[in-house]
């Protein structure tokens, strides 16, 4: 008869998971509890503020009967395309701004002005110019993603140790090699930090774009639930879906970041 297997060294998996998730669960329970308490204390009817139980029930029903899925798919495509376009352009412009003071002086006022202009005011105009299809949503998402990623890239590239740049130059690195082998990799933590912000803003951009005119999307579902169906729990279910979508996309960037630059 063999001896029983020794217990694994270090902390066991169960307590580790509990340690990681317990604060999240406690925080979630606190949030739901406070929400329910407000509903009870104010005696709010569901058309003013539905309780968490009715929102969760409506969320499950809307997923089961296929109400949410097509809207989510539309919004997700808008976000991903807008984030990709805005992110790539911002990366290029960010490097340009970091390397050229002249470019910074010329472009910065426009970039800051574009960022300061509420996208809510721009969205109807963009829908008017580019139609109420996918293109206008992608443009709105790209616009909103652009600024944080461009600024993060500029700051990241500028913060590269000048001695490393000097050393690369001494090895006769070309300009492209300097950017691709040194500056961008070194700036990656800052760039990914900008992308974390950008991807959550892209979610807002897609919803605002849909409010300016669309046939489908989570923004459309919110308007339908609120203004036509008067189904406020469904509106909250759509909001919950948007929140979860934002969290998932944020986590994806975090995972990419961990993969590329490690835990920060």
């Amino acid at each position: 008869m063999s001896a029983p297997a020794p217990a694994p060294r270090g902390t066991a998996l169960g307590p580790r998971i509990a340690h990681a998730w317990l604060p999240v669960l406690v925080s979630l329970a606190g949030f739901l509890g406070a929400w329910q308490a407000i509903v009870l204390a104010g005696d709010y009817p569901p058309f003013i503020l539905p309780g968490p139980a009715s929102v969760v029930a409506r969320f499950v029903r809307a997923w089961a009967d296929g109400t949410i899925a097509p809207h989510l798919a539309t919004t997700l495509v808008e976000i991903l395309l807008g984030f990709a376009v805005g992110g790539v352009v911002a990366l290029l412009v960010g490097v340009l701004l970091a390397r050229s003071r002249l470019a910074e002086r010329l472009l910065s006022p426009y970039l800051v002005a574009a960022q300061a202009t509420p996208v809510l005011a721009l969205a109807p105009l963009i829908a008017l110019w580019f139609g109420s299809g996918l293109l206008s949503k992608v443009i709105i998402c790209a616009l909103i993603v652009f600024f944080p990623v461009a600024v993060a890239t500029m700051v990241g590239v500028r913060s590269v140790d000048p001695r490393l740049v000097e050393m690369a130059r001494s090895f006769r690195a070309t300009r492209w090699q300097l950017i691709s082998k040194l500056e961008v990799p070194a700036a990656l933590p800052a760039i990914l930090g900008g992308m974390r912000v950008g991807v959550t803003l892209a979610v807002i951009g897609a919803i605002v774009g849909e409010w300016a005119g669309a046939e489908r999307g989570l923004g459309v579902l919110i308007n339908l639930a609120r203004g036509s169906l008067f189904d406020i729990p469904l509106m909250f279910a759509a909001l919950l879906t948007i929140a979860l979508l934002g969290i998932v996309l944020y986590l994806v960037i975090v995972l990419i970041e961990r993969r590329l630059v490690g835990v920060r």
Partner: protein, 362 residues
Amino acid sequence: MPTPRLPAPGSRPREIAALLVTVGLLAACTSGASAPPASSDLNVGPTIIPSGPPVATPSASPLKLVVGLGYIPSVQFAQFYLADRAGYYRDAGLEVELQNKIDPDLVTLLGQGAIDIGSADGTSVIPAVSQGIPIVYAATIYGTNPSIVFAKASSGIRTAADLKGRKVGIPGKYGSSWIMLQALLASVGLTPDDVELVLYPDFGQGVAVQEGAVDAATGFANNEPVQLELSGERAVVLHVDETTPLPGPGLVTGRQTLAAKADALRAFVAATLRAMDEIAADPQRGLDASVAAVPDLGQDPARQLAILKATIETWKNARTGAPFGAIDRTGWQASLEFMTSLGLVPNPVTVDQLVTEELLPR
């Protein structure tokens, strides 16, 4: 899967503080703008005395009523302006505050009691009541549903059947115009899939018809077709009333408000209907009152008078010939059945739950 990491994770006390702030904000948002009024809030002014007369006399302090018109100031609200300017509300012991603004949440605010009475669409009342919002439709303003499909006469469109395969401009797949379009198409065995829908979320479909970008569009009988005709182009208007008499905009109030202020609301409805009768007999009076209330309307009086005359036509119920305000229960029943078939009535409701004649003059 890792938990979401914020750029600067806070310590536990900071997390708790953040949670408290969130809860506080939620409470502030809900209690400020959306809290249902306490019963005392409904009795604004000192004239509500349980054992006293139902309506204040002109000498008593007037009873305040907040009226939501749900749209920008327009000659289409001439009856409210006339009743206000001519003192009909004041004579009934009322101090009326007309809230002339676009308000997408008007139905919810009526159910909540934040607005006492307002002009809301009948097709909104059906899903709202079905979802448990305690409102009731109390007087018909538009006896003929003003939501229509219109086209240039030169388009060759004469009936709903002619829309098959045509480009039709719509603001979106929601609201009364979308329901009307589905009802109109269904009346000739068509569905929205049988037409080519073009979205105009900025409500630019009127211009699109004028410029020929679409063959027809949804609109309002007292707006786009009038503008089209004023531009020298003859318009064709397709009404849905003959097949599915969808309830048009009317005076809607909350059940709670109705219980607390029935007499004041009755006086308000009577004064408004009186103004409608007078404007129908003499549209110029309505225009004058509108210009006095909204001076900008005086810039093009001929256009405004044309819009007002078209509006008066939609106040009338050509099908029943009933007086202004009367509620067409048969039409409501037909609409309820149609909207149920569209899946817009998740919980069954009856016409009795949707309308009341309690506020109409006896």
